[in-house]
């Protein structure tokens, strides 16, 4: 197992290198010049040229890439062109809201989706099943921002139960922290609820049709233990895989959700950076997200051994 983990971790190095090359080239070949943006609307071409020189943007691309790779290898993500602050510090400042939102979303999505999926499979073909699947289709179809605005209108403007926007750090209290996260979590989580619920239902239906499930029922095993202990555990591998894939989707969704709910997280940081062409921030955030994704995939693979002891590495 340890040898497998080490092998997997080592295999991330070339993956991350390819990500780094792609990110760097895509950014630098896309139209947009941070110097022109920094200089402002009234700047003359001379002003812009001076700023380009200061930022080292007038150097050949291969040299800029080499400089970046060299600092990346030593764990330095670089410095924001606009804020003259290290990218690591900026990501650190913005990490808490994003991590909070990601955790609450995953918990919300997993709990609700698995419950719905199991119930839908158990009551397959009934009104409950059709309702759950209808809900899943809606979750897939309605864009994140539409859900966000509808929830804001309903729960913030109309009922005044929850705030429209913002983020309260957890050290200021669990209550205020949660109050700010309820609407963004539901908004972001809905699509994952839909995705995981559908997969759970489909996998559960397969498992429930197995002979050993019929045997369990014949032996008089109660419904709840039968569904949760016997069926769900055997259906877990594909569900966990989908949850892992969902983390990648979550990263994309975070960007929109943080904008709609004005959460000062990494998503907002990267959107602002894209608009300003602040290359070091964009590159740094993408590298961090890629690293997280690789790590999540590794954890998902390792979790298979827990759910299915036949799997060995």
């Amino acid at each position: 197992m340890i040898a497998y983990i080490v092998r997997r971790l080592l295999s991330t190095v070339p993956v991350m290198f390819i990500v780094a090359v792609c990110v760097f080239l895509l950014l630098h070949l896309a139209p947009g010049d941070p110097a022109a943006i920094m200089a402002g609307d009234n700047a003359t071409p001379q002003n812009i040229a001076q700023i380009r020189q200061k930022l080292g943007l007038d150097e050949p691309l291969w040299r800029q890439f080499g400089t970046w790779m060299f600092s990346l290898a030593s764990g330095d993500l670089g410095e924001s062109m606009f804020w003259r602050t290290s990218v690591t510090t900026l990501i650190g400042q913005r990490a808490e809201p994003t991590i909070s939102l990601a955790i609450t979303t995953i918990i919300f999505a997993v709990v609700i989706a698995i419950t719905l999926g199991v119930v839908a499979a158990w009551k397959a073909g009934t009104g409950i099943d059709r309702f759950v699947m209808g809900f899943a289709v809606m979750g897939f179809s309605v864009p994140v921002f539409v859900v966000g605005y509808l929830l804001i209108y309903c729960f913030a403007i109309w009922l005044r139960w929850l705030p429209v926007q913002g983020y309260t750090p957890i050290e200021e209290g669990l209550g205020p922290w949660l109050r700010n996260l309820v609407l963004p979590t539901i908004t972001l989580g809905l699509v994952y609820v839909a995705l995981i619920a559908r997969i759970t239902r489909a996998t559960m239906l397969d498992v429930l049709a197995e002979d050993y499930m019929r045997t369990a029922r014949a032996k008089g095993v109660a419904t709840a233990p039968m569904l949760l202990k016997h069926a769900l555990k055997n259906a877990a591998v594909p569900i966990v895989t989908v949850i892992g894939i969902g983390v990648a989707l979550l990263i994309g969704g975070v960007v929109i959700t943080e904008t709609v709910f004005n959460i000062p997280g990494i998503g907002r940081l990267v959107v602002d950076a894209i608009q300003r062409r602040d290359y070091p921030i964009i590159q740094g955030v993408i590298m961090v997200f890629s690293g997280i994704y690789v790590l999540v995939n590794l954890l998902v693979d390792l979790s298979y051994t827990f759910f299915d002891p036949r799997i060995r590495y």
């Binding site: 010049d33 200089a39 402002g40 429209v164 200021e172 209290g173 669990l174 209550g175």
Partner: protein, 534 residues
């Protein structure tokens, strides 16, 4: 341990207390909210150095923490600000400015004339008007701790106007230590002498900027007006919250999570008009002016006939209606200088008075030798009015027989590409759209786009010697009547060689909670002194 109903209730109460305690404490802190204003401005602050950039948000930040030697009042008159007494010699060559008593930097040290001289030098290296001023200056010295003496080689009528102007970069005063920084290098230390201090500990770049009342600020005794007069701060704190989504900002204003929204998108005005806790005010009556810049370096717009053709095909009403819908918020303007400013006039505007004349435009393009070559129009798709107007302009050009190619990109892409001087098919361009503040467009010197100095000028690089002579004469004029006369001449000439074309002038209301009172009306700046939260 046995679970009883009593133990469950006790544990639940304890858990609620733990969860609720910080919220209760926070509720107590939030009483201070009564004297805190949370404002959503039009964007993020790109840098804390308002001299280094022309970005308006940096100037807003500058207006909070820094002060100026002179200020502009609501009637656009120049008034002394940090300066107490000042004297202009009879030959108008020597300006002696004495600082007011008691001015202090936020670090507690006294503001000296030496600080101001260094600040003036750094500002003049970055600002267009400052560069002209310094090119005409013989000497700029600190005569003593409080007296600045500026001696000119030749008379220039815009010395005080330049020091007071709100067009960016504004002439803010900084400590000598910071002001000695290379003008091409950004300053990150924020120590001013203005009515607010930047609370760095609570500021989160890109998210929120916290400004606390400066208890040591010495305001003037005269009434506040524009960015002149007594800057008396009546709140403890102003927080600029960065909120990129207008819909969210409007909702936050309705629920009282924010107190002020600088620019309300016109399509959301109705939503706020029906809210009794919110009021709309027009703080910036001159608003913005939409500019269509054409590239003088390449065909067809290197030919004056093609540029004149542009005058005949623009229908400002269509452009404005597409984005701003309600005529209350826009106007059509044929003047080279912002309508509503002193320089507005109607010289040589016959082309503007009738309906668009596509036949005439087509004829002028033909006279320019245009034979259907591709004309590249850059379209910024992430800014509503630019996207809409580019679509309309493309259609107008097509109606005049122009083979237009619209290139969609974000504004950052336009900003980069407009600096490219190569032909359009090699990465250059023919037309792009932008906008500028009403006061700047109303001022022949303040707006870089008003220059027609060719290669050294602003993007589009128009060149016209007569226009530059007239700008120079305008700057030398000492009375408003003289300036108005020159402005008429300048416009008559400009609409012959056509430096650019306008697609309309518009304003957007600001929205605030009804308990926010006494906001000062000012273009290009939102002053937070004098304002009360009742």
């Amino acid at each position: 341990m046995k679970t009883t109903r009593r133990s469950v209730l006790t544990n639940t109460a304890a858990a609620a207390a733990i969860i609720g305690a910080p919220a209760i404490a926070k509720g107590q802190v939030r009483r201070g909210e009564q004297r805190t204003i949370r404002a959503v401005m039009h964007g993020d602050i790109p840098t804390f150095d308002p001299i280094w950039t022309t970005a308006n948000m940096s100037a807003y930040h500058g207006g909070m923490v820094y002060d100026t030697l002179f200020g502009i009042d609501a009637d656009s008159s120049v008034k002394p600000q940090m300066v107490g007494k000042y004297d202009v010699s009879a030959d108008q060559l020597t300006y002696t400015m004495e600082l007011r008593d008691g001015l202090k930097w936020h670090d507690g040290t006294a503001v000296t004339a030496r600080d101001c001289v260094a600040s003036l030098r750094r500002w003049s290296a970055r600002d267009g008007a400052g560069q002209i001023l310094m090119s005409r200056a013989k000497d700029l010295v600190a005569k003593d701790e409080k007296t600045i003496v500026l001696t000119m080689k030749e008379r220039w009528g815009l010395v005080l106007d330049s020091l007071a102007k709100t067009a960016t970069p504004v002439c803010f005063m900084m400590r000598e230590k910071e002001a000695m920084t290379d003008p091409m290098q950004k300053i990150d230390t924020v120590v001013g002498s203005g009515p607010f201090t930047l609370n760095m500990a609570e500021t989160k770049p890109g998210s929120q900027y916290v400004y606390d009342k400066n208890p040591n600020y010495v305001p003037r005794s005269d009434a506040a007006s524009g960015i002149a007069g007594g800057k008396i701060v009546k709140v403890d704190r102003v927080i600029y919250q960065v909120m990129p989504d207008s819909q969210t900002a409007v909702a936050a204003l309705q629920t009282g999570e924010i107190d002020f929204l600088e620019l309300v998108p016109i399509d959301l005005v109705g939503q706020l008009q029906s809210d009794k806790n919110v009021k709309l005010e027009m703080l910036n009556v001159l608003g913005q002016v939409g500019l269509i810049r054409v590239n003088y370096l390449h065909p067809p717009f290197n030919n004056v006939k093609a540029r004149q053709a542009m005058l005949y095909l623009i229908n400002q009403e269509n452009h404005m209606k597409a984005t701003f819908a309600d005529a209350k918020y826009y106007r059509q303007c044929g003047s080279l200088f912002t309508c509503g400013t002193a320089m507005e006039n109607d010289a040589n505007t016959d082309w503007f008075k009738g309906k668009p004349n596509y036949a005439k435009a087509k004829q002028l393009f033909a006279e320019a030798g245009y034979k259907g070559e591709e004309v590249t129009l850059l379209q910024a798709t992430n800014i509503d009015y630019m996207r809409n107007s580019a679509d309309i302009l493309a259609q107008e050009l097509r109606q005049a027989g122009v083979n237009v190619k619209v290139i969609p990109m974000d504004w950052s892409g336009v900003v980069t590409r407009r600096a490219v001087k190569t032909p359009p098919d090699q990465g250059g361009w023919n037309i792009f759209l932008t906008s500028a503040g009403g006061p700047a467009v109303g001022h022949p010197i303040a707006l870089g786009a008003h220059a027609a100095s060719g290669d050294k000028g602003w993007f589009g690089w128009p060149a016209d010697a007569k226009h530059e002579e007239l700008r120079n004469a305008w700057a030398l004029a000492t009375t408003i009547e003289e300036r108005k006369k020159i402005a008429v001449e300048m416009q008559a000439n400009a609409w012959n060689f056509v430096p650019h074309v306008y697609f309309g002038q518009w304003t957007q209301p600001a929205a605030m909670r009804t308990n926010i009172t006494n906001m000062l009306r000012m273009a290009e700046m939102v002053p937070w002194w004098n304002v009360e939260k009742v």
